[in-house]
Symmetry: C3
Subunit: 346 residues, 3 copies
């Protein structure tokens, strides 16, 4: 596919500087782009690279220096470049139907234009919407329901009766709806509490590879519309995650915890069970959240405290040994002073 | 299935208050239960909800206020409710045999009443007990041995010669017996140490989704009877985990470490290699255990210390910056005093 | 297989003490070895066990006490024992070809002597080298390229166009090349940035189970030659990992970070994005690396600092509450002194 710079600017809602007639056939980074390619500057840190790029055109923030290149100026070049990547590189594949080697139980309902690869298993009573793509090794347990335009990559499992919304993408190996970790002590061992609830994954959610969302004990574990979850994340049973959250790799959220909307959690964060995290809360990577958090704040540390305090605290921690010496020497000096003052007072 | 309140009380060993003849057809939470359903109160925090529940009956601790509801009083309503969930919702499925699309190598021995779904692979010389259920995509490598009543969910892998006990449940994507992480430096690179040992998972163990238990270098990595392991947990080679332990999500236990029985580890705990953790030790979430721990204690922090000390310490950490100012001001005041006292002494 | 002690010594480049003619048929630990088996001492901590082992021969460091056993002395008994394990226990299996129940799309090129198990899916345009083994449930997406002597265990996924070098081993459930976690905020929700780059895994890399290496946004996520990665590790998009690194279980490395060669990371380490870690850096388990690190140092803590300082600091942290009392009492004593000195000065 080739498009003129002018066409691209129109598509993005940006303005052209230089030759709008040149044809663009692909996209690349400032370092790698060459003849016929368009590149972009989003991070001002790399502005100097614009001068030396060999790209045919550059997508720039308003008012940036084009260094003589053909350019499109745009209010949000990062988002605009993402939209161009979609335009140039993500043509929808033709539907393949149910391919030989896929196993479909009785009583499965399927929409139009699905692609079901070899090695997929679909259990009885499952429902697939239109344009669903199931890569090899996907397992849809009985009674699970998938909306339209769902893409499940290889070896994803959707357990019994779980519900997946429209336009959901789940990457390889992720498990939706395995049993929550619930046991009652019977005085000697652990008695398994049957997990009879489900998981609901709402529209436009994307989940990375090898993550796990457990089914609720009795009701619903919910992932809200538009939320993005990275690889190797654990969402325990009965959690309710709000809309448009961003949960980075290796985060673990304990059972029955509720997140508001637009919550952002850095990598390896751990969150205790049965607490509430308000809207727009941001949690720094590797933090441990032990108690509920009101909306609109940034926190960090184990246990998590307001992020500014955590930054100050974490810079102080390494000074502790030196600091300890200071206090130790202060103790001696004060004891000495006390003696002196006592003798003076006599 | 419907049962009278009186029948249920008899089954559980509890006592009825109100109408023992009413029929119960299902279970739900205090908030969600309605006509014909039984609910329960386990956590006194929610006692007020008993007054307003629309359930037909409530399972209550001895002496609790039934607020005029039909009720069963029981010494352990949490455990009792779990037993009712099992009774009402976990009827054993009829065995399906080896279904078309399952791959069974030569020399596999199988017990009675197995269910082997499409897409399962069973390697030569493997042994399956009675009533084993293997969901789609399960891979049993050559020589692996499974006991009776084992359920392996989709895409679980049991590597070569590993042994799985009776009534073991393993959720989707978990790997038992991949190679331990062992290399010998050869002066330049890493020489792989073949991992020729196995994993033994004893009776009544349950393991969550996408966890990994590595095979021993030479001998046995062992998961003791009744132990419950959550999702995304790492158990390294040569570990020996005792009985009835509870290991929460994203815990990592390094090689050759031994856990006693009834050890409980919160989420994201890390444990060093080659150490011993005594019986009944509890480790708070996100802690790092760097050294052996005697039995019967609760620890927390990185590195882990007795939990009470850790609580005090962790509350002190955020005061460090303020604390530092105090010490700095003390230093000035002491220096000032020293000058004054010196001049007074003259 | 049986070999004389003398033959084994020749193979390893070591020297025999005692009877070189005895035949060795297997290897075991000091505790477990018996008649006809050879054992080894690598860790001097276990030297006393040499006296009591029932092995027919012992592999020992130069100058160690053989306690009357037949022995081979070797400069590096740990490495030598690993080589014997390879010799005795890792005979290459006869190639099985493409077995029934494997799905191979059109236009796939395969080398000689491959073993492709049932339930494997290979997409169009993929390339397999010689002696490649794909265990059940492996998914090779279209256009992926595998070198010679590659072994992929069950349910490994190699996503579109990714490239795997020679002699690479990847354990069960690991995903290479799923989409990087990249979104552009569009003012309300998150707009997915198509991830059009690939992953390159160089020669002699080994990766454990259920790990994830994400494909680059535009270019290449690279795992350098000889690097070993454990289970449940996250390598985010655009990372470049050097050669012969060792990355222990549950480590997470954020996007666009670069590691030099021979970097060693302990379990559960987290590394921030867009930073550089120099050659030979070692990071203690559970640390958080927030900023770039120069080569040839050992660090620890959250955030990571030089390891010696971290050890001192981490030992001081638990003293904080006591320490706080000391400072509080110092404040009182200094205030008292100030009053006294003031009154003396009058």
């Amino acid at each position: 596919m080739k498009k003129s710079l002018q066409e691209i600017a129109l598509y993005l809602g940006g303005s052209v500087a230089g030759d709008g007639e040149i044809l663009i056939g692909g996209l690349a980074t400032l370092d790698d782009a060459g003849e016929g390619q368009l590149t972009f500057l989003a991070n001002p840190k790399y502005a100097a690279k614009v001068a030396t790029t060999r790209a045919s055109a550059v997508l720039l923030p308003q008012g940036a220096n084009a260094h003589g290149h053909n350019a499109i100026f745009h209010a949000n070049p990062y988002l605009a470049f993402a939209k161009l990547l979609t335009l140039f590189y993500t043509a929808p594949a033709a539907p393949l139907g149910v391919m030989p080697g896929a196993f479909v139980a009785e009583g499965v309902r399927m929409g139009a234009d699905v692609s079901v690869y070899p090695g997929v298993s679909i259990g009885s009573g499952a429902v697939l919407g239109d344009r669903v793509t199931l890569h090899p090794g996907v397992v849809i347990y009985p009674g699970a329901v998938l909306g339209d335009d769902v893409t499940l990559y290889s070896n994803v499992s959707i357990r019994e009766r779980c519900r997946i919304g429209n336009r959901v993408i789940i990457h390889d190996g992720t498990v939706i709806g395995s049993d929550g970790f619930g046991y009652a002590p019977d005085g000697k061992s652990w008695y398994k509490i049957p997990q009879i609830g489900i998981v609901v994954v709402e529209d436009d959610v994307e989940i990375g590879s090898n993550s796990v969302v457990d089914r609720a004990a009795l009701e619903v574990t919910r992932i809200g519309r538009g939320t993005k979850i990275d690889n190797l994340v654990q969402i325990a049973h009965n959690c309710v995650i709000g809309e448009d959250c961003m949960i980075v790799s290796q985060v673990g959220i304990s059972g029955s915890t509720q997140l508001g909307s637009h919550v952002i959690m850095g990598g390896q964060v751990g969150v205790a069970g049965h607490i509430k995290i308000g809207d727009n809360v941001m949690v720094a990577a590797k933090s441990g959240v032990a108690a509920s958090l009101a909306a609109n704040q940034t926190v960090g540390g184990i246990p998590a405290i307001p992020h500014r305090e955590w930054l100050k605290t974490s810079m102080t921690i390494p000074k502790l040994p030196e600091f300890r010496k200071t206090v130790s020497s202060l103790e001696k000096r004060v004891a000495e002073l006390e003696k002196l003052v006592q003798s003076l007072g006599k």
